[in-house]
Symmetry: D2
Subunit: 340 residues, 4 copies
């Protein structure tokens, strides 16, 4: 399937992505990434949403209400493990500013652990960084690699971070766009596969100075298909296939979560009428299956894009996470493909 | 809230209920009850549906696909614990007859254990009984008490069985009807409450000849509100409140399941277009809340109606299950209400 | 069933409860309540735990990891809706202080909305309040009513707040203790039932000055029974019965969550051996069923205790939430019981 | 990781597998496969178990009780889509025979759709076939390919069926064995990957005479690790990675279920004591992670083994499903590996 114009989650509707990268001194290697389903007031104009948990060894906030009500009412914030509460506060601060009468709101926050490169215990992320990330959020091309929440992340032993990709389904199947954004911080080095090729069998990163604590991956999915929350849940469950295609078996400490939303319509905060007309994605034509395939493909590529765009980073305690040697990988892939 | 014209699940749309009662000799006290969301071909014209599990110490078939796809594609069959497979076969037989090309279908079956009165091990229920129950299914008033799947059931130590009730929400909240049908076979005698009054504290049934095996309760909900499968799941979760109002704390062996569907629209088996227009119940007006209250009320009354309509039954091994002494109960309720 | 010595969650093992009550000026009516499964380092010595969601229209953090791994590794914090992130930060701060090498931890936070009495938008709760609540947490009798997280809460239209109760199972069934602590902030006034008596039918609070936003209820369960996380989940599901016994049908906006843990053993952070010996609660004797009944009873009483102990509070915008007129209620209950 | 002696699910404890293959005339191409956790009375001596649903477009019976109680109390039966009820009846018949007093039992049945090769509507499977499969169930090598429930199945457009594999974890991590048995009936031909190599890109089966209805995959996992039901659920979730490694993105109509059990101990039907001593797999050492990897690997290989062992079958309506051309595949794999 072919990608959208930016091969990014921003190919979907009016989705915006904002990064704040905190990289200073020898020990601050962290940040915040926010994803905005649309540029308006999300509390007043919610979007249909779902959460899928692959492996809940990870900290999140806000998932249960999304599952109950099937809507998202704030931007999604991604950050490091010990900053979930801070990001939550930032999203609340934002909601209070844009909605004067608001007394209740459900922020959605995901995280990965960047403690190998970042002095995570000092908690350098502040609520202001979330507000700033929302402010700078933009449509169009999305910066990838060592940026935002991805600043201090590690993937298959190489420098990881933020990656994104998108896919378009055929016009006859709705011509929908599906985008994935991954905060990629997972995987055992020897397991890495790219395009099916077992890169990890030939090419390993230098061993870490000491064992890192866990991994994790948060994948945000956006689509303009008019999927219900139940259908978004089904779509979200195909992220695991995309992650598996990069080689992972799903580590014990790798917290893996999917947050999915549709931009096809907004759901008003209060509804005067007992019912309302909506469009719903057909369940039993091939339209939804095309979105399943799009999800697995975009997820796989988002992770690989994180690896391809991330640069070597030195961080706390002199720890270094090396970038994937892209040229070597490309020649390995080329050799393999030539002979198949 | 006020009930519909029949105070029964058949007050909803074109819902039909059919019973086949197997009561012969000294040991056959069982049967089948089917609920048809509409009289047409359910496989071709499915209905939106949900399942909620309160306590899964109970045997069911078909729940997972209903949860995945959000639709029901056969009638619902209720029977005894060891006849789930037979009822499943009966529903398949029916589906094959009405849909010549069909090679896959997902029957939905629930059960309770009637082994105190019924020679359950001899498995007297046959697939033909399911077909017959579908044939005789009718709209209008629903026979309650010792009938269909309820023939051999016990509730709070008294003779239980089938009960039903309905509620209508105010016109301004949609004017929807919600009906509940309970296969009531649960509860400790001392716990029975009717209208809040602790009947079980004053009035106990004769002790059983030997301990019965488990209890259970299956509640089927129907509504003409255009609820999505997610919303039907939320509605279904209020059944537990209605059951609790009859006094139960939720016994370990009391398998409690809810099957809920909406008659507001049908979902075609195959969908040519990538999306389709539908109406959806408003989430955040009071319309859905009225359905929650309707659910708890109709569930409570369905159970009480089962108790009020069931007559004393003698069954296998000379076991007798006595009917609730309705006159005594009514005077107890009256005395209590007078003095409040 | 009979209560423990304090009729409180602190009757279980070494459980401690700490409140910080923020009540000053005309507009601050809020606070924090923490529950400590034991006084040691919870990250190093976790406890077996489970979460059950009754209605997820409510904000929580930390539930998914508890469900995945079956353990709790921080105190539980309860606070107001807009302070979940702050409480999360407080729990992280505490974890970092007591565990120097920690770089990842999963705080568990629940909330209810106190915006009718409290200027919730100004977010007066600070991380320090969580640390203070942990510091002052004590075993023995638990302050109830207008205290801690319960300071600004409302229940069935009367002043609500914190309530607790406990039950002991018979010695032959293990002689286990189960305690419940409720943050009670839910219910429609006309629905209130106490001991089965429909108090709300006779006795209504003055109508509120304006519609309050939502309700909610968080119930924390503790037991010394050696329940597995799966079994704790089963126990937790009986909270809904206890809540229903107080009259509620389960409102749309009433976020209802249960956090349950066992003090029977601790789970070390790192385990050197591939397996370890543990004791597990029998599933199919009556021991677990006694805990189910204890749960429903203790939950019901915890809510009623919150109503009985809470005093009238005036708060933001001159809003007043009146205390339940206990003498009137008691005479109503007495009249009803005499005549049954 | 290395396989056990038979590279089969029977490498685990006393696990037995039995097939009944129904292959006669031009139109009967179906069967039954049963998996016995041990040769004793499973109702009296249950095993710890879990179910995981990847995509519930599939019919099963018995999953909810396994999830609630965490035990399996019958053999597992696999068969075709329209025979779930029949298999259920066969398992009940077996349970009644071996346990004279039994009046309630929870059979566990999974299915895939073999209607492309098999005259599924005529329902040739009978309860006797389940009893026979239990009778012939054996330890040791497991017949694979066109056998038992796999007789009429299709996988990635080639002839599929039954496959099995096992893995042993290192002695320091418990030295546990994990076995997988797959009923493989899923996948788009172009997606097939073997050992990472995109076989489907080079080698496609002849196109089918007409579109087949759906696919599906049921994977049964057995391990001698003393995993709790929650831990077995975690293990089961890694099956999706193993399936994804064979190339699939997870089709809409591909019902994918995992049934997992542990042979480490048995759980008696009735328990006289309130609690009992058990061993439990360590959660946070590497022991559980080794089982995760074992699961993904054994699942992948079980599917590939089904493809490698299945022979070409002609069935109903002259439909032919061709066997994978193993020699061509092996040379393709060899060429690719040489050049990496």
């Amino acid at each position: 399937m072919s990608p959208g114009p930016n091969n990014a989650i921003t190919d979907v509707g009016e989705v915006r992505v904002g990064h704040v990268t905190l990289c200073s001194g020898r020990e601050i290697r962290t940040g915040v990434t926010v994803i905005l389903p649309h540029p308006g007031n999300l509390f007043r104009e919610k979007v249909v949403a779902a959460v899928h948990v692959i492996n809940a060894f990870g900290k999140v906030a806000g998932t249960t209400q999304v599952e109950e009500l099937g809507v998202l009412e704030t931007p999604i914030a991604l950050t490091n493990t010990l900053s979930v509460g801070v990001a939550w506060n930032g999203l609340v601060e934002h909601a209070l500013r844009v909605t004067p009468s608001l007394t209740s709101v459900n922020p959605l926050v995901g995280e990965c652990n960047d403690s190998y490169l970042n002095d995570i215990r000092s908690r350098h992320v502040k609520p202001e960084h979330v507000l700033e990330a929302i402010d700078v959020a933009a449509s169009g091309p999305v910066p990838e690699g060592v940026v935002g929440a991805g600043t201090g992340m590690t993937c298959y032993g190489w420098k990881g971070g933020i990656g994104t990709a998108s896919r378009r389904t055929p016009a006859a199947l709705g011509g929908y766009t599906l985008g994935a954004l991954a905060l990629a911080n997972f995987g055992d080095p020897a397991d890495l596969r790219i395009g099916g090729v077992s890169v990890g069998a030939s090419l390993l990163p230098p061993p870490p100075a000491e064992a890192a604590s866990g991994g994790s991956c948060v994948v945000v999915l956006a689509t303009d298909a008019p999927a219900s929350s139940r259908q978004l849940g089904r779509i979200a469950r195909r992220v695991q296939n995309g992650l598996a295609w990069t080689g992972t078996f799903g580590g014990h400490r790798s917290g893996e979560y999917v947050f999915a939303f549709s931009t096809a319509r907004t759901v008003p905060d209060r509804q005067a009428q007992p019912s309302l007309p909506v469009r719903e994605l057909a369940e039993d034509g091939p339209a939804i299956e095309a979105l399943f395939r799009a999800t697995a493909e975009a997820t796989e590529e988002a992770v690989i894009n994180a690896l391809f765009t991330a640069r070597t980073v030195e961080g706390v305690d002199g720890h270094i996470q090396y970038e994937l040697p892209v040229d070597e990988v490309l020649s390995l892939l080329q050799r393999t493909q030539e002979r198949q």
